[in-house]
Symmetry: C2
Subunit: 159 residues, 2 copies
């Protein structure tokens, strides 16, 4: 295989940027992710690539639950804050306030415009990231916003 071409082709894929969260009791995990897609209308499934050696992966695997929020076009700095290890302090994760989600009590960052809660239906562990397939059980819109598009950030995660 032409590895340089493979990298370029995979980097031609378009992504948004999202903050993924999980929680098991008092243990919290949150991270910025981009390997996200819808996977079915009925039932409403989403699919996400989650790094296997991450705390998010451990917590999602243990609880079967996750929350996902879409970052707005002007929230690149927030995306950056969730590249760092998760610190929970005084109702905030990495300095950003959160509230518990209605169904599972997962952390929802109140600055982010779009959120959903989902329940894991399937896990495929064939690579260095697991593919998590989850069914959306609740969703909410705090305000309408244009999403942050990875191609506009100058960042890459893929290839």
């Amino acid at each position: 295989m032409d590895l340089e071409a493979k990298k370029k082709v995979l980097r031609s894929f378009t992504y948004g940027l999202y903050v993924l969260t999980a929680r098991d009791g008092e243990e919290y995990a949150a991270g910025t992710v981009n390997w996200v897609t819808q996977a079915s209308f009925q039932p409403p499934l989403i699919a996400l690539g989650v790094k296997r050696d991450s705390r998010l992966h451990a917590l999602i695997g243990r609880t079967g639950r996750l929350a996902l929020m879409t970052l707005a076009a002007d929230q690149k700095a927030i995306a950056q804050d969730f590249f760092k290890p998760t610190v929970q302090e005084g109702g905030a994760l990495n300095g950003h306030p959160f509230v518990p989600s209605p169904t599972f009590g997962l952390p929802l960052l109140t600055e982010l415009p779009y959120w959903l809660e989902a329940e894991v239906r399937h896990l495929y562990e064939g690579g260095d990231h697991s593919l998590v397939v989850a069914e959306v059980v609740e969703a909410g819109v705090r305000h309408e916003a244009r999403p942050l598009v990875m191609g506009d950030t100058g960042w890459f995660y893929g290839g």
Copy 2:
């Protein structure tokens, strides 16, 4: 669940646009898709949502092989041509010339800048679309181009 919010949140996801092709002997299928993400670096896996009642789904299921091409920002009209049923005529699919891919002989549209061939590793049939996980086995770049971003087309497929 708040269904209106669910639709809005799922439509806040960002997508590129791609032409997916498959072939079994003289039978060809090609269609524009957007539910696509990388799913692993090592091995290089991609994941795609493919409509279960489509010919693409049947051919990919039967052969375990697919080709995927990224549409460039100025190729919205080509994306539109592959919303229609597949017609193969004189070395063209829906009027667009193709060549066989090097490994599997799948149709590669020569106008599209980025292509890959992949072999199916896993299929999850939990919804109205199957989630196809496939390993990239070959890839190529015809020319460098900015990808077509769904948010810029005014189209939606999701919600």
